[in-house]
């Protein structure tokens, strides 16, 4: 019988199998180590940057210590360097961006993942993602020449009239309109694709069974989203927001063009400000002094550390959603 023949011949190929498994094939071994080497460069670059930047900022680290982060003065002529105005500008402009972007991005994500008809999904996805493809300098130009003057003439007076009792919306309505507020708006538009598309992806990863379970109990569309989708993706959406926050903190070119670049802390959103990134972009070419360069590098190090941590946090949060019970991966 042919079957028994097969069984008798079976042991023969065995040595060849163990040959492959043992990695004696030289080509495969070389290939494996080569690719591993390339993969390692990513880690090496990260480590090298951290080490180099720390070394380059030694002078500033030794001179100012931790006080650097809280000092409010910035006076290069008298060698007084405080990072606080820039940290403040960075955080506040990014927070404004988040407050503006969260409702819009969630709306976009819910529409794309749950409600949009099939023919509309693809083009809308594309348009949202195109926003991310526009170079930052283009946003900067638009912010500088279109948005800022419009804000100054239309929006600022309106806000001052209606919400003027808040210190946030007080202050002079003169100048160029380049301000903390303008930076927040530009940042919001720039991080919208990130927040919206990551949120949409986590919502889409909710198993179909959850939605059908709720629908079959006599739930409306909105109830289905509220009961079956949102509670399961909160951590993923927080991850998307944190990712957007990280992007906003580090964004340089567009912010430099619209924020006004003044190292001052003002409660008014109409006033110009500066961020860490805009500060470095403005100053790096203007000095050869060792201490000044060291200070700028330390600013860079602060920004680097903060965005690195935020990115790790957001990755962890999004990753958790992908592992929910009954999710795509456990199917």
């Amino acid at each position: 019988m042919p079957q028994t023949d097969d069984e008798q011949h079976e042991p023969k190929p065995q040595p060849r199998l163990s040959h492959v498994a043992g990695g004696k094939n030289i080509g495969d071994g070389v290939f494996k180590w080569m690719t591993a080497g390339f993969a390692a460069t990513a880690i090496l670059v990260l480590a090298a940057m951290l080490i180099q930047m720390t070394r380059a900022s030694t002078l500033s680290l030794q001179r100012f210590g931790l006080g650097f982060l809280t000092e409010k003065e910035w006076d290069p002529v008298h060698e007084i360097f405080g990072a606080f105005p820039f940290i403040f500008g960075t955080v506040v402009s990014s927070v404004i961006a988040l407050l503006l972007v969260i409702p819009v991005a969630l709306g976009v994500a819910i529409f794309l993942s749950e409600l949009a008809p099939a023919w509309l999904k693809k083009p809308l996805d594309l348009i949202i993602e195109l926003l991310a493809a526009i170079p930052s300098i283009v946003y900067g130009l638009w912010g500088m020449f279109v948005l800022a003057p419009w804000l100054l003439q239309t929006i600022f007076p309106l806000l001052a009239k209606t919400l003027g009792f808040l210190p946030l919306f007080q202050g002079e309505l003169q100048g160029s309109g380049r301000s903390m507020f303008a930076a927040g708006i530009v940042l919001a538009i720039m991080i919208l694709p990130t927040v919206a598309s990551v949120s949409r992806d986590v919502m889409a990863s909710v198993p179909k069974g959850y939605r059908e379970g709720v629908l079959a109990l006599g739930a409306t569309r909105w109830e289905t989203i509220r009961v079956a989708v949102l509670p399961n993706v909160t951590s993923g959406i927080v991850g998307a927001i944190v990712l957007g926050f990280g992007r906003a903190l580090g964004e340089t070119m567009a912010v430099t063009m619209v924020i006004g670049n003044r190292a001052e802390i003002s409660a008014s959103l109409f006033a110009p400000a500066a961020t860490i990134a805009s500060m470095i972009a403005n100053e790096y070419a203007g000095t050869s002094e060792a201490l000044y360069l060291s200070v700028l590098t330390e600013l860079g190090l602060v920004l680097f550390a903060v965005t690195l941590v935020l990115n790790i946090v957001s990755k962890l949060l999004v990753w958790r959603v992908g592992r929910m019970p009954g999710g795509a991966r456990s199917l």
């Binding site: 959850y210 059908e212 379970g213 629908l215 079959a216 109990l217 006599g218 409306t220 109830e223 079956a228």
Partner: protein
């Protein structure tokens, strides 16, 4: 008395098999189970020339049948024969999928659920559904899972604790979970999760309970518990169950419909269908010659 053979013919005709749509004799009498055995039972749901599509693919090709009240009706057939799609049409769940289309009539107590002014959301609260894969809501506790449907429909629950106990008792789950009601529904075993889903559906006191292969993701012991459960709730509620397991259909149902390629081939008393099938295709399928 009519003979069994005559009865198949009657049912087959009423099911529209082999009869062109326009010539199909529609006779309300024929649609009901009017044999001597079930003279008392009334058609709870009546399906007339139901067609369903996904995009351009016609999945259900004009099916008519009648579901007897407070009885268990099983739907069997090979994979891809449209049996799941068919029951998803009975509570308007088919249409939630993009590109899905339905035509025909489905009467629930003489009201066509596909009529324009009918809200599908209301229909789904009257016609419950249990799915192939147990899907308790993972962010809710066992107790919240049971009450979820009532909360969604805005029903005031005077004594929620009693209701939770009663419904879990009906679903044969109370003994196992009475001390862990606040634990997540996802912490239960697969079979327990499925019984929780049944309890969740029963809490709404559905007139009909649709079950789409409710045991296909479960082991044999969990399966037999669900089957016992179907037997007991079949007395208080009309059940339509889809199954690819013919023994299961034979064990739990009063009536069985055999679907093939989107058409209803044969519909009869379960005992008759499995012992003296009226159609060659049915016989081939139940004897394992294909499918």
């Amino acid at each position: 008395m009519i003979t069994a053979k005559q009865m198949f013919q009657l049912r087959s005709m009423s099911a529209g098999v082999g009869v062109p749509e326009e010539k199909m004799p529609f006779n309300k009498e024929n649609m009901l189970h009017n044999s001597a055995d079930d003279a008392k039972s009334v058609g709870k749901m009546r399906v007339e020339h139901l067609q369903a599509w996904f995009g351009k693919a016609e999945i259900i090709k004009g099916v008519s049948l009648s579901v007897a009240d407070k009885k268990v009706t099983a739907i069997i057939g090979p994979s891809g024969c449209g049996k799941s799609t068919f029951i998803r049409c009975l509570n308007r769940m088919h249409e939630v999928v993009p590109q899905a289309l339905v035509s025909g009539k489905v009467f629930l107590d003489d009201v066509d659920i596909y009529e324009k002014q009918i809200d599908p959301v209301k229909i789904r609260s009257r016609v419950g559904m249990v799915f192939q894969r147990p899907n308790p809501f993972p962010t809710m506790s066992i107790r919240e899972n049971v009450l979820a449907g009532l909360k969604l429909n805005g029903v005031k629950i005077p004594r929620p604790d009693e209701l939770v106990e009663k419904v879990l008792e009906q679903a044969a789950l109370w003994g196992e979970v009475k001390d862990i009601l606040n634990r997540s529904g996802a912490s239960l075993s697969g079979g327990q999760q499925q019984r929780l889903c049944i309890a969740r559906a029963l809490a709404l006191e559905p007139e009909i309970l649709l079950m789409d292969e409710p045991c296909s993701a479960l082991d044999p012991i969990a399966t037999s518990r669900i089957e016992e459960l179907i037997h007991s709730i079949g007395k208080i509620c009309t059940i339509v169950i889809v199954t690819h397991n013919m023994q299961q259909a034979a064990r739990v149902s009063h009536y069985t419909a055999f679907f093939y390629m989107g058409e209803l081939v044969e519909f009869n008393d379960t005992d008759i269908l499995f012992t003296k099938p009226g159609k060659q295709q049915t016989e081939d399928y139940i004897t394992g010659r294909f499918g």
